[in-house]
């Protein structure tokens, strides 16, 4: 770069930063448009890492990316990215990008770097389709797809339609089962709708923030920056960090409360109880909006494979109505003192938080993610957070509310909204509910009753892999995840425990962009496009749907994932019919050209057609047969479906607007988003005016109407404290907690592929308490062996305090395949959500 260009680029960078500071503060920067200075073409995109969903403008010159800029028009991030944005572009260009299909001829080479040979697409597709067809015809229970919260919406939609309607198989689940399932089940239990009521805008207005087991500063940096801006804005804003270990998020918190693992359940209950016994509940809000319940208790844990079908396992979802008095009586056990005794947090500290909830003028925001969700009572802990907010009426108001943060860029948009789960259909619909199946049949033009074959939910993630490990799976296909690194209990699932060698017997197909731990176990690898090498759509934690445009071509022979699904579907469904018509044409004829055996149109147009079909699920007025079932015109069902509740806008609106939070409503010819669900007020200001006018009731307490909930009332369900699956003992004296750090993401399958980048990334370390180290004779940097009842792993110990665990607890991130910490992590899961508890494995630590 010559000096004048350098001066110009630097001046541009500086002015963009000053402009963005204004945008982040809610002002319009001087001089208007922020982006400029480049010679290339600019494409709109979204970061492909975390659930924050930051907008990014990608500048392309001569077919390659030359700059990235935070998108000032994306309201989720308002021009900011975290430092991971620096190497986003570089991720596309790692030397070992997969560019040709690969086939493994000898399954005995699985688990090694050898054994895969290059193949043509034709050979690889024929092989995969043949294996799938044989396995499918023999026994549908022995095939599965494991998808992802990183698959764009149209990709997840095609997949769901192929698997559920094409193969009539429910064995499809996403990696979001490992991160969001507890939040999802609680959303459905409490509100009967899977969504956060508030939005990121609450971060700009809250008076009190409470982080529950969430290292937001590292896992959701741009949102943490928004929280910090609010704190530094001069207002008397407080942040309480409730955590099991000191993290970067603790550093600037006003108060840090370190609690004993699992006792968050009791702390939240003590706050609810404080509101009840001190008459500090919002009684008008309760009277208008809340129904009370109790639920099944003494659930034990999923130690055995047969847990779900056991007597107790079958009851876990049971609830019974209760009066407020009955609910209060159950809650009364949770005095501040009792919670203090269980948690180790002082009664005075818990009371300090409770008083914020008790103050009707204080806006309180609870924020949580994996600490709450990856919990042996993860669904319950989500409930207990909602209970505090429901009792105090601190919900559906700007600056107020419980906010479940998501881990992956489109865990909400694809895994949840498209419904890639074993029990779901698109848009919150359930396979088990007849009206939901009829509605889906209407949209997919299937004969009435066609989907009755998938009435029973399929296998959830851990069940899929437990069955596979026992040799009960013939075919597994995975995409956009790295299961061989991120699943818990890898000692079992990777067949290191010789009792479980199923991974070597199952035919495994992996769609990937780089060689990973999972491709080491693949029989076939399909090389695919990543990030902006194709167009896609993400849905982030605040209900925002955003399109990322195709900016560059995928390398070599790498293809769009959807192309691989349809090529296999076309082969597998050969000769199959639906209602007398060719099955493949019936499902995918609207985007596929039989003659060319390829997409029937340009890339954007295919995305648009797919999205427009998907959009009918939330716009029943677009298809009369669907609308009839939505409105229950025949009266054969119990109620209306209210599918407009999650209304999405036409595809091109998203291209224009850099993302919109649903429901998006058409008012006077304009599509307006919703920031605060169930809150009455002007739609133009982000309130749920259209939804309430259609299905809700005006004039209720707090100007709120929960029109999607049964009887218009969310449920406050009493959920007690029940202990973790295992408690430290003489043999295994430590808790082992796992998580993530700022510089990496997920399993490192992308970030670790760039050799030079490795230098800048932190080494995988086991953070330990200094006293524990002293006792065990371990020094900073020593290699230690961490052993649990599940397996063991060697890792370097650290006392550098990247995170600072209390005595008796240790922490490691899970980003490095060479230090596979999940070999030692338990696969115990929350009985309701089936989401594993990655945070509380018991271990012993020995110096190697």
């Amino acid at each position: 770069m010559d000096l004048s260009r350098r001066t110009f680029v630097k001046a541009t960078a500086v002015s963009l930063a000053f402009g963005t500071a204004a945008v982040a503060a809610g002002c319009t920067p001087e001089g208007g448009g922020l982006f400029g200075g480049g010679n290339g073409t600019t494409y709109k995109a979204v970061c492909r890492y975390c659930g924050t969903g930051c907008g990014i403008l990608c500048e392309v010159e001569d077919g390659r990316l030359v700059s990235v800029t935070g998108d000032p028009d994306n309201e989720s991030s308002r021009g900011l990215n975290c430092i991971k944005g620096i190497h986003l572009a570089k991720l596309l260009y790692g030397a070992d990008r997969l560019t040709t299909p690969l086939i493994r001829d000898n399954p005995q080479t699985k688990g090694t770097n050898d054994g895969l040979r290059e193949a043509t697409w034709e050979e690889a597709l024929d092989l995969v389709a043949g294996k799938l067809k044989t396995a499918w015809k023999a026994d549908k229970k022995r095939i599965a797809f494991w998808g992802s919260g990183q698959q764009p919406i149209t990709e997840g939609y095609v997949l769901s339609k192929f698997w559920k309607a094409g193969l009539l198989c429910n064995n499809i689940d996403p990696n979001a089962r490992l991160c969001m399932a507890s939040a999802v089940v609680a959303f459905m239990n409490v509100f009967q709708t899977d969504e956060p009521p508030g939005s990121y805008k609450d971060l700009d207005q809250a008076d009190v923030f409470i982080t529950w087991g969430a290292n937001m500063a590292e896992a959701h940096p741009v949102l943490y920056s928004r929280l910090s801006s609010r704190k530094l804005s001069g207002a008397d804003v407080k942040h309480y960090d409730l955590t099991t270990l000191i993290t970067s998020t603790s550093k600037d918190a006003d108060k840090v409360m370190v609690f004993r693992p699992g006792s968050d359940l009791a702390i939240a209950n003590a706050i609810s109880n404080y509101l009840i016994v001190n008459n500090k509940c919002d009684t008008a809000f309760i009277a208008d909006h809340i129904q009370f319940k109790t639920g099944a208790e003494n659930l034990g844990n999923a130690y055995e494979d047969g847990y779900d079908a056991s007597d107790v396992g079958k009851t876990v979802n049971d609830v019974a109505p209760a009066t407020f008095e009955e609910f209060a009586a159950r809650m009364s056990e949770y005095t501040l003192e009792y919670a203090a005794q269980l948690s180790g947090v002082s009664a005075a500290d818990i009371q300090e938080i409770a008083e914020h909830f008790a103050n009707p003028n204080t806006k309180v925001m609870s924020l949580w993610t994996m600490g709450v969700n990856q919990h042996n009572r993860g669904t319950w802990m989500n409930h207990n957070i909602y209970n505090m907010h429901l009792l105090s009426g601190k919900i559906c108001k700007p600056g107020c509310g419980p906010f479940s943060l998501t881990g992956q860029p489109t865990a909400c948009g694809t895994a949840r909204e498209v419904g890639l789960f074993a029990h779901r259909l698109p848009a919150d619909l359930l396979v088990a509910t007849p009206q939901h199946r009829r509605y889906t049949e209407a949209i997919w033009d299937l004969p009435g009753g066609y989907l009755d074959a998938i009435e029973a939910p399929g296998f959830h993630t851990i069940k899929i892999f437990r069955e596979m490990s026992k040799g009960n799976m013939d075919f597994l296909w995975t995409s956009t995840n790295n299961w061989a690194a991120t699943l818990p209990n890898l000692t079992r699932f990777l067949g290191i425990d010789p009792k479980y060698d199923g991974v070597f017997k199952t035919f495994i197909v992996v769609n990937e962009v780089y060689p990973t731990k999972s491709t080491q176990y693949a029989d076939v690898v399909f090389p695919v496009a990543m990030w902006v090498e194709r167009e896609g759509q993400y849905g982030n934690a605040e209900r925002r749907t955003t399109i990322f445009e195709k900016a560059v071509d995928p390398p070599g022979e790498a293809k769009w994932d959807v192309w691989t699904y349809l090529q296999v579907a076309r082969r597998v469904l050969e000769g199959e019919t639906i209602g007398g018509a060719d099955a493949f044409d019936q499902l995918f004829g609207f985007i596929w050209n039989r003659e060319t055996d390829d997409f029937d149109g340009e890339h954007r147009e295919i995305n648009r057609r797919l999205f427009e079909e998907y959009r009918i699920f939330s716009n029943p007025q677009l298809k009369q047969a669907a609308q009839d079932i939505n409105m229950d015109v025949t009266g054969e069902f119990e109620a209306k479906l209210k599918m407009e509740n999650k209304q999405l806008a036409p595809y091109d609106e998203y291209l224009d607007k850099n993302g919109l939070t649903w429901p998006v409503r058409e008012v006077d010819g304009k599509w307006l988003q919703t920031s605060w669900r169930f809150a009455n007020g002007s739609q133009a200001d982000g309130f749920d005016e259209v939804g309430i006018a259609q299905y809700g009731e005006a004039g209720l307490a707090g100007n709120v109407s929960f029109y999607k909930s049964a009887k218009g009332k969310p449920s406050a369900v009493f959920r007690p404290y029940e202990p973790p699956a295992f408690e430290p003992n003489e043999e295994y004296p430590f808790w082992f907690c796992t998580g993530r750090l700022l510089e990496h993401w997920h399993s490192g399958s992308m970030t670790q592929r760039i050799p030079e980048l490795q230098r800048a990334l932190p080494e995988m370390l086991l953070d330990m308490n200094e006293e524990d180290c002293k006792r065990l004779g371990i020094k900073d940097g020593d290699l230690v062996r961490v052993t649990s009842p599940y397996g063991s792993v060697e890792i370097k110990a650290s006392t550098a305090k990247r995170t600072a665990p209390p005595e008796g607890l240790c922490f490691a991130a899970f980003h490095q395949e060479s230090v596979l910490i999940n070999l030692a992590v338990q696969d115990i899961y929350c009985p309701l959500s089936k989401e594993p508890d990655y945070k509380k494995t018991i271990v012993r630590i020995e110096k190697v």
Partner: protein, 104 residues
């Protein structure tokens, strides 16, 4: 724009871009939120890092640039800043890597 602190730091540090002329360079800009009360020290420790400049503050956010030889070096320096005591958040705004052969 608040440049008071910045000016005092500029006087105390010498701004030496790590490369000049036609050498490849990656230029990126950031907004930093700093812990209240220690802004001056933190600005000084940021500016003391090679290739790092602090340009002023707006709406409580400090505008920082990093000039480095590569994306990786940029990331390394940015990571260092995120770990400095007193840096509450450090967000990327723009990164130009037109000079770098990303391997395409």
């Amino acid at each position: 724009m608040n440049t008071g602190i910045i000016e005092s730091v500029r006087e105390a540090t010498t701004d030496t871009p790590n490369s000049a002329g036609d050498a490849p360079v990656v230029i990126s800009s950031y907004l930093a939120l700093l812990r209240k009360g220690c802004e001056e020290e933190v600005v000084a420790s940021m500016a003391a890092l090679e290739g790092v400049e602090v340009h002023g503050s707006e709406h409580g956010q400090y505008v920082v640039t990093i000039e480095a030889d590569s994306v990786d070096e940029t990331f390394e320096r940015a990571t260092k800043i995120t770990r400095l005591e007193g840096v509450t958040t450090f967000s990327l705004v723009h990164c130009n890597f037109e000079d770098e052969d990303l391997g395409a």
